[in-house]
Amino acid sequence: MLDALSAWLTFDLMGLTPGTHLGEAVWFFLYDVPKVLLLLVSVVFLMGVVHSYISPERTRAWLANKPLGLGNVMAAGLGIVTPFCSCSAVPLFIGFLSAGVPLGVTFSFLISAPMVNEVALALLFGLFGWKVAALYLGLGLAVAIVAGLVIGRLGMEHHLEDWVRKIQMGAAPDLGNGTPTWRDRFRSGTAHVKEIVGRVWPWLIAGIAIGAGIHGYVPQDLMAGIMGKEQWWAVPAAVLLGVPMYSNAAGILPVIQALLGKGAALGTVLAFMMSVIALSAPEMVILRKVLKPTLIAVFAGVVAAGIMLVGFVFNAVL
């Protein structure tokens, strides 16, 4: 239906010719924007409702004293659905550790939470279809679980900054919220949409506009030479390139989709995206407050290795 509507708007109403650069670009834009926005709003709304069932305090209680393995799997899953903003990463990290959540399990949570986020999933679903979204979900979880397991096995507790281990965490406050009603849950959903979609929509539109430009104007297979499957170094290069970038999935995915259409390999671009989201330089700076350099390096190394593996697997399979 959207397909027909956007074609009508572009070719009939605006009188552009199908097959021309401008016509293709405008059609692509008018088709993608409503489709992706609709999906994004629904997924974010649902996630807001889910948030009303789960709080970081609850997640912490579930994860406390769980063994490595089971704990990592639970932590990676809970990382997707637990509401918390990235600026809370440090207090959350310390809060988890002080309540007896093992270090490796805490890392699984901290890796999965930003990487497998609802915006990325909604956009992948909207732009690439459910198979790619499901693969991303599964592999993102796998990276978080395995990286947490490795860090847990290495027994790196003494690589936390000294002040972190000395900290006295107060008892969790009783906020007296009671059990939320359905009304509250829906309100949580709408609030989440306002917050997330309100923040990302300009990026999304800009991303789709750039993507539309690429779709209409960049010659076919231009990207195949740079980001295609044949270049083994493309995956590591994409991961490295992603580290200093700090962007959100909303702006970057539509561009990626357009690049794919021009011959870039999916594994390479997914590795790039995971790296942009999960290995951002600003986040390293925040984590440096609580982790000694060795542990930061191990964290970055393990996650980067995991992401590269995902990139290679995708390129090999698809």
């Binding site: 970081p56 903003c85 600026c87 809370s88 207090p91 006295q168 107060g170 406050p173 906020l175």
Partner: protein, 90 residues
């Protein structure tokens, strides 16, 4: 006068929260003493692990995210009687 502390490491949401509380207090003509607590050990000492958190007269009333306007107005409303809460009295 109520003492209001906003707990947070200085992220955008923490600033928004502090400003929101100051604005609402202003609009209602309520005098408050507003403090920003950025020291991580102090924040964790309150048992708060998601910022921004809000502490009114030493009691944590909120954690994680920017609070609703209604909620803030509720916290700032003068407590009835001799400083206790919940009294329905004049």
């Amino acid at each position: 006068m109520k003492n209001v502390k906003v707990l947070g490491s200085g992220c955008a949401n923490c600033e928004t929260t502090a400003k929101l509380i100051a604005d609402i207090a202003d609009a209602k003509g309520i005098q408050i003493e507003l403090e920003k607590v950025t020291d991580m050990a102090a924040i964790l000492g309150y048992g708060v692990m998601t910022t921004p958190g809000v502490v009114i007269d030493g009691k944590v009333v909120h954690a994680g995210g920017v609070p609703d306007r209604d909620k803030v107005a509720g916290w700032l409303a003068p407590a009835a009687g001799g400083g206790g809460c919940c009294g329905g009295c004049c």
